[in-house]
Symmetry: C2
Subunit: 403 residues, 2 copies
Amino acid sequence: MNPDPDYSAAYVVLRTDLGDGHGFCFTIGRGNEVCVAAIRAHAPLVTGRALDLDDLGGFAKGLLHDSQLRWLGPEKGAVHMAAAAIINAAFDLAGKVAGKPVWKLLADMSPEQIVDLADWRYLTDALTPADATDLLADMLPGRNAQEARLLQYGFPAYTTTPGWLGYSDDKLVRLARQAVAEGFSQIKLKVGVDVAADVRRMRLAREAVGPGVRIAVDANQRWDVPEAIEWVRALAPFDPYWIEEPTSPDDVLGHAAIRRAVAPVKVATGEHVANRVIFKQLLQAGAADVLQLDACRVAGVTENIAILLLAARFGVPVCPHAGGVGLCEVVQHLSMFDYVAVGGSTRGRVLEYVDHLHEHFADPVRIVDGHYVAPSRPGLSTEMKAASLADHLHPGGPVWRNA
Amino acid sequence: MNPDPDYSAAYVVLRTDLGDGHGFCFTIGRGNEVCVAAIRAHAPLVTGRALDLDDLGGFAKGLLHDSQLRWLGPEKGAVHMAAAAIINAAFDLAGKVAGKPVWKLLADMSPEQIVDLADWRYLTDALTPADATDLLADMLPGRNAQEARLLQYGFPAYTTTPGWLGYSDDKLVRLARQAVAEGFSQIKLKVGVDVAADVRRMRLAREAVGPGVRIAVDANQRWDVPEAIEWVRALAPFDPYWIEEPTSPDDVLGHAAIRRAVAPVKVATGEHVANRVIFKQLLQAGAADVLQLDACRVAGVTENIAILLLAARFGVPVCPHAGGVGLCEVVQHLSMFDYVAVGGSTRGRVLEYVDHLHEHFADPVRIVDGHYVAPSRPGLSTEMKAASLADHLHPGGPVWRNA
């Protein structure tokens, strides 16, 4: 579905007298300028205004509830990605001002403070703010122990590196073995173009890693519901752990039908889910075993807090989408906050890792023995290096001038 | 929810050696430039290319399946509205070349031609192209009689004019009576700010129009699910015909819960539904009694054909959203095509009418005795007058210079 990604980002710097916050939303090329236009459309709601770092929930709602911009969504597409970039920039700033990485900033908040960050509109049939506060309060006693374990062991990762379509069988086998040697307990294969080839690749991967390593498969929305069921059943003999994005990300009922048909293979989705209302329904309909939130498609940290709380309420693990531009850097904060203060466990949770573009970030992720190391630097790890920004600035930067 | 609309449009002219096609998507002010950017992002897929008027389904898919632009949706928000503007412009051109209004252009096509216009991806669990072809073939014998009735009587309309929030009680009563005198058999009230005021306004409207005229109420997404149920029950003694947009347009399961709780009051939704996948689920879940497609939010004529076919499959009437900028002009073609060739009946179908901005269109709608008169001029009625375009061009036009 994404044959020719040309990784791009619309980058926001929120300049304040307390310092700068950095955020972005990422695209795969054409249309990046639409996100830039959408970010600029929010500028009058931000520039010259006072920013209350103790009310970032209010700041986010100020962007998301603008009635005229809302018309372009509501809460989806380019305007929503733009809001994500700005809201994440505000959290990056808040972390820097507090001298904490954002996972720790959030994990040190009271249940009431966390609940106040989320926008509860359209959620109360599934979870009320009062119930969410209780849920967070129940987790308070475990926070210190979870934080200590996080700092000691990190957060479990899986790798998509071996499984891209187009790799030779030899390369697939070599990279799958290498991933296991590096300490990963889960790998992922892209599927969906040719069922016979997918069966062959899945068999080779299973033979390479043995029975104890999970192999997730990812269809990137290629199938209709009946085709998804048939295809996953063809792969089932090789014990796929989850099928990711089997169909349209909007199709809650379709995911539910697929999940019923392919169990015990799990269904995972979320990287293209537009907002918390669709996530709520995936949970209500029993449509997913694994929720894969994205840092920059829903409205940043605040909406992701709502999604983490909903997932905890329904007992469904969140395994964020990463890769792209800087997603690994951002989503690690969300998963670590989830572990310390919301879900309280790493059971069933694993964070995608793609070894790609980290060199452009001021505080890149670190993976040790198949685990993300908890970042210690203040902020949301969203800041790109000044040289990378200058080099890739469109259209005047040297990378573009020389293209 | 829309307190300060500043009606705006991103306007497309598709210039070809066969003539020009006109299309647009409409916004309520801020963010219109985001739609302009999204339309421009599609330009490389359109300009300089050959346009096959016998394969407008292929033309539409060429826009919608672009993998990089799709990342900004998929199929939602600004990029989808942009696709709507371009696709509708192509149909306006096709109607002009054929010398037919688009409702007639479509209604003269074979079942196979109609089915080929739709994008069937993600729909086949609910309706296959073969079943849709059969459905259309079953309606072939009635086409001539339905067209004759359409030309004689027009298509039934309802009016939102009496019911805007902020009107005095006197004005509401006067306009409600006037609507009935003008031949409308349905009116609509906006609700959702103050339940006591809504009960009073609903009572006054019911007293003004009597028991035989339908009164729809429209909440414009203001409520969570529990609040929607409570509010509609408070209005129920005055026999509301439908509750429109009671909650988030993404919330299929929420609409289903509301519908179960407020029956026999009908649930209507669709003006902000992003695409055919959400419409499919509204039908599968029994979440709506009335589907309200929009001409410019989903991907124009082609996606609306899929929605009309799905609705016919499930036996749910389509009553399009109109008003805004030029929606009445466009959706009349969809409803008339639906009547002649798809649904085959006006039962339960009524087309919104708002008396607003028609003066800017080259072929404005005509309402006689509460009915839309079938347009006879070739095209999709999307073309604005040259003077209106020149006057309102942003930022250089005289209306903006003098603002």
